[in-house]
C-alpha cells in the first residue's frame, strides 16, 4: 500500500535519514498500520465537526509584560556548537 517512493518522500519531509533496510521495513510496517487505520475512511462522518480543541476555552492570553530572559550563557550551555554567543550550524545549501 505504501510504496518505497512514498516512504522516501515522507522521510525527507520528516528529515529522517533511513537506511535502505529501514525504508523497506518501514514500507511494510506502515502499510500494515494504515490498513487497520483505514477503516475509519469507510465511516460516514459528513457534517461532523472535527475536534481541534478538547477544552472549551477561549481567549487565554497574557499581559504584554516582560519576564526575565535566560542568561545567554545558560541559553547556550546545552548548544552542541556554540560560537561567540550564537548557535552555530552547517549552512543550508539552497540560498539565492
Amino acid at each position: 500500500m505504501i510504496e518505497r517512493e512514498q516512504v522516501l518522500h515522507v522521510a525527507k519531509l520528516a528529515r529522517l535519514g533511513l537506511t535502505d533496510e529501514e525504508v523497506e521495513r518501514m514500507a511494510g510496517e506502515l502499510s500494515g498500520i494504515l490498513g487497520h487505520v483505514d477503516r475509519i475512511a469507510e465511516l460516514d462522518l459528513d457534517g461532523v465537526e472535527p475536534t481541534s480543541h478538547v477544552v472549551e476555552l477561549e481567549n487565554v492570553w497574557r499581559a504584554d509584560v516582560p519576564h526575565e530572559s535566560l542568561d545567554p550563557e545558560v541559553a547556550l550551555a546545552q548548544a552542541p556548537d556554540p560560537d561567540d554567543g550564537a548557535f552555530r550550524v552547517p549552512s543550508p545549501q539552497a540560498e539565492a
Binding site: A14, G32, L43, P50, V54, P90
Partner: protein, 497 residues
C-alpha cells in the same frame, strides 16, 4: 526500617504531620531503597537528596519518583531517548515545581518508552524495565518505570503521563493504582510533548487515597499552559462506604475476543463485587469506541511528528557528526538519536498530515474523536461511570510483541477512547489471574471512567470498590502487600476489616 517503607504516602504524611516521622530520615530511607533498583526502573536517582529542592518549612510529603519526561532544572531529563542524552533542562516543569513547593523531594527520574511511545517500556534507549512480579515480563508502558518503582518497593508513589493509556495500563500490569485525570486538570508545561491534545500527567500509587493526595498537589490552572483549567474544586480524600445509588455501564461494543480468559473472569468478578456493594451494572453502547485505536494512531503520531521536529541538533541534545549541509545534519542526528518506534510514528504522523492525505486521515480521525466523545456524553447522561478491563491481557513476556507494532498498539484498546474524549479514568487492581499461556498469576486492572471534571466522584467510587475488592498481594520481596484490606483510619494504627 522496612516498616516505614510499608506506609502508604498518605500514612507517612499523617505521621509526619503528627511529628511521629522525620521527613528527612524518611526520604533518606527511600533513597536507600531506590538504590537497590534491579529493574532498570530508574534512569537517574537523587543520591544526596536536595535535587532542585525548594526550601519548605516542615516538609511532610513523601518523596516522589518522576517519569523522565518531566523537565527538572539541572537534572538529567532524557524522555527515554538517545537524542536527549546528557540534556539538563534550564527550567522545571510545573508538575514537579508543585511537588517541590509542597515539600515532596524528587527521588529520581524513571525509565520510560522513548518519548512516551509504547505499551511495554521496551522502547527505551536505556534498556527495558522489568516487571517486579516477574522479571521476564514487561511492566507495561510508556510509564513502565513509574509503575515498577511503586510496585517494586523502590518509591512510595510516582508521577507518569498518559496519552492513550500510558499510566493506566502499566498500573494494571503492575498491580497498582493509576489515574489519568481530565484533560486540562494538570499543567503540561515542562512535560515533554508527545501528543499535545492527549497528554496528561497523573499519579501512580499503591492505593486510591494516595492517588487523591497526589492529584491534589498536582492539579491547577497554570498561566504557562493555555490548555490548563485545573479541577473545579481541590480533591479531598475519598471516603465512600459503598456503591449504593451508583450506576456502572459496561460497553457492549468493547467486549472483544482478544481479552484473555483470566482477565475476563476477574472483570466479571469485579462487576459482581460492585453489585455486592450496592452498585448497579448495566450494558451501554459506545458505537464509535471500537475505532478508537484507528483514530488514536493517526492523531497521536501526527501531533508527535510535529512535536518531535524540534529535536534537530541545533540548540541542545545530541548532534550527529556530518560533513554536509544542515539538512544532512538533521537527517543524521534524527536517524541516530531516535529509536525504531519513534521513527515509525514520526513517519506515520508526517504521512497523515501530508498534502493529499490530511482530510482522509487527520481530518477523519478528529471527526471520529468527536463521535467518541459524544458516545461517552450520551452514556453519562444515563450512567455514572463506564467500566472496562484496563488491558486485554496480563503482563506479557519481554520481546513477545515487539515484532508486530500493530499487535502492540492493540494493548491500548480499552484506554484510548477515554484519552480521545479527554475524560478522567482510573485503573485499580482487580486481583491476580493466570496468563493465557499458563504460569504464576499476575495483576489485572479494572478501569473506571467518569465524565470530565468528575474526579471526586471517580475517586470516591474507586475507593469504595478498592476496599470491597481487598487486593492484598504484592510482588515477592516488596515491602508491602497490596493495599490490604486497610480502611483508612485516623492518625496511626490500622485495623483489619
Amino acid at each position: 526500617m522496612s516498616d516505614v517503607l510499608a506506609l502508604t504516602a498518605l500514612q507517612a504524611h499523617e505521621a509526619m504531620v503528627a511529628g511521629d516521622l522525620d521527613a528527612g530520615e524518611y526520604a533518606a530511607t527511600w533513597r536507600e531503597a531506590a538504590a537497590a533498583d534491579e529493574l532498570n526502573a530508574y534512569l537517574w536517582r537523587d543520591e544526596d537528596g536536595g535535587a532542585g529542592a525548594i526550601a519548605v518549612e516542615r516538609p511532610c510529603i513523601a518523596p516522589v519518583a518522576v517519569k523522565d519526561i518531566f523537565c527538572t532544572e539541572g537534572v538529567p531529563t532524557t524522555a527515554g531517548s538517545r537524542i536527549l542524552e546528557g540534556y539538563r533542562p534550564p527550567y522545571t516543569s510545573t508538575a514537579v515545581r508543585r511537588l517541590l513547593e509542597a515539600g515532596a523531594p524528587v527521588l529520581g527520574k524513571t525509565n520510560m518508552d522513548e518519548f512516551a511511545m509504547g505499551s511495554s517500556n521496551e522502547n527505551s534507549a536505556y534498556g527495558p524495565v522489568l516487571n517486579p512480579w516477574d522479571r521476564g515480563r514487561v511492566p507495561g508502558g510508556s510509564s513502565g518505570g513509574s509503575a515498577a518503582v511503586v510496585a517494586g518497593g523502590l518509591a512510595p508513589w510516582s508521577i507518569g503521563t498518559d496519552t492513550g493509556g500510558s499510566i493506566r495500563q502499566p498500573a494494571a500490569l503492575c498491580g497498582i493504582v493509576g489515574l489519568k485525570p481530565t484533560y486540562g486538570a494538570i499543567s503540561r508545561y515542562g512535560m515533554i510533548a508527545f501528543a499535545s491534545s492527549l497528554d496528561q500527567c497523573g499519579p501512580l500509587t499503591r492505593d486510591v487515597s494516595d492517588a487523591a493526595l497526589l492529584l491534589g498537589i498536582l492539579q491547577g490552572a497554570d498561566p504557562c499552559d493555555s490548555t490548563s483549567v485545573g479541577l473545579p474544586e481541590a480533591p479531598r480524600l475519598p471516603d465512600r462506604e459503598d456503591l449504593s445509588g451508583l450506576r456502572f455501564a459496561v460497553p457492549a461494543d468493547l467486549a472483544r475476543d482478544a481479552i484473555e480468559p483470566g482477565v475476563r473472569e476477574l472483570f466479571e468478578a469485579t462487576l459482581a463485587t460492585i453489585e455486592r456493594l450496592g452498585g448497579e451494572i448495566a450494558e451501554t453502547s459506545l458505537p464509535h469506541a471500537e475505532h478508537g485505536i484507528s483514530a488514536y494512531y493517526v492523531i497521536a503520531p501526527a501531533e508527535a511528528s510535529s512535536n518531535l521536529a524540534r529535536y534537530d541538533g541545533v540548540r541542545y541534545g545530541m548532534r550527529a557528526e556530518s560533513a554536509g549541509d544542515v539538512i544532512e545534519m538533521y537527517e543524521a542526528t534524527r536517524a541516530q538519536g531516535f529509536g525504531a518506534e519513534v521513527k515509525r510514528r514520526v513517519m506515520l504522523g508526517t504521512y497523515a498530515l501530508s498534502s493529499g492525505y490530511y482530510d482522509a486521515y487527520y481530518g477523519q480521525a478528529q471527526k471520529v474523536r468527536t463521535k467518541i466523545a459524544a458516545d461517552f456524553t450520551a452514556a453519562f447522561s444515563e450512567y455514572d461511570f463506564v467500566v472496562t478491563p484496563t488491558s486485554p491481557s496480563v503482563a506479557f513476556g519481554l520481546g513477545e510483541k515487539t515484532e508486530d507494532p500493530l499487535a502492540m498498539y492493540l494493548n491500548d484498546f480499552f484506554t484510548v477512547p477515554m484519552s480521545l474524549a479527554g475524560i478522567p479514568a482510573i485503573s485499580i487492581p482487580a486481583g491476580l489471574a493466570e496468563p493465557a499461556g499458563g504460569g504464576p498469576r499476575l495483576p489485572v486492572g479494572f478501569q473506571i471512567a467518569a465524565p470530565a471534571f468528575a474526579e471526586q466522584k471517580l475517586l470516591d467510587a474507586a475507593y469504595a470498590l478498592e476496599q470491597g475488592i481487598g487486593f492484598d498481594a504484592g510482588p515477592s520481596g516488596a515491602p508491602y502487600a497490596g493495599i490490604g484490606h486497610k480502611k483508612r483510619t485516623g492518625v496511626g494504627g490500622e485495623e483489619d476489616g
